[in-house]
Symmetry: C2
Subunit: 162 residues, 2 copies
Amino acid sequence: MRTLHPEPLTAAAFAPFGDVIELAGARQMPINAGTTIRFHDLAQVDVLAEGGRTLINLFRAQPRDVPVRLSLMERHPLGSQAFLPLVDAPYYVVVAEDDHGRPGALRAFVTNGWQGVNYAKNVWHHPLLALGAVRDFIVVDRGGAGVNLEEHLLDEAVCIAT
Amino acid sequence: MRTLHPEPLTAAAFAPFGDVIELAGARQMPINAGTTIRFHDLAQVDVLAEGGRTLINLFRAQPRDVPVRLSLMERHPLGSQAFLPLVDAPYYVVVAEDDHGRPGALRAFVTNGWQGVNYAKNVWHHPLLALGAVRDFIVVDRGGAGVNLEEHLLDEAVCIAT
């Protein structure tokens, strides 16, 4: 069994895979006569390939057993996929660069405070890894015709160090 | 001073103005080997007019004093705007049908449980009306060129009955 040691999730470290959705560093605009702050344009939504459209969904995830064991990676060739947690609780994010059509070296991240992620189109990532309790996430992704899911079973057992 | 009495927010009552975003009645799909439920396609995102694109933002709203006094209505001629609360706490939603280019009779709604709204393109609505504490909302709306805001000051003072 191989063990991954999760890194803190930062925009710089995650840049090859997509956007970290967070308030730190975001453009802020006071609106509504000063009663509201707009944290503006937090992720690059990229869903229009092959006639796609933007979907808003809610994912309700069961917590994983720890240490978390990884089984497969997936990617969405036609669209980005953003996850925005409803609660401020840590969860894991596992991604990989592509290596000749399959995931290369896995990288694990752990969130710190209220952070979401937006996987760029066609980026390998593990399905949602909630921790501790049932967690709800707003998910913004692509709807429409076309094959938008590719899965890859991992060859060896991998877990995330707690 | 005129007083509005808020109605419960239901999909049927709100239909002329857009979508109620809620889990009751949503299409549910088990995904990720049964570890997650996907509540699918909760709102009609309509942001592509005049070269628009989908934005994901966070709005941080100060709570309103009660009884809430209304001052102006606004609408977005080029795109829908969805609000999804991070917390399960009631807030007000005020909308109006168009009456020759200005808001007609105002209708006030109050949320019940975790509910969001998606204002359809060009629907008159009041800016965000949070209650009780600072509240965060995920907002999915339109970015891009073009004039996407129209405001209308109310002619008479209106408040919402508590």
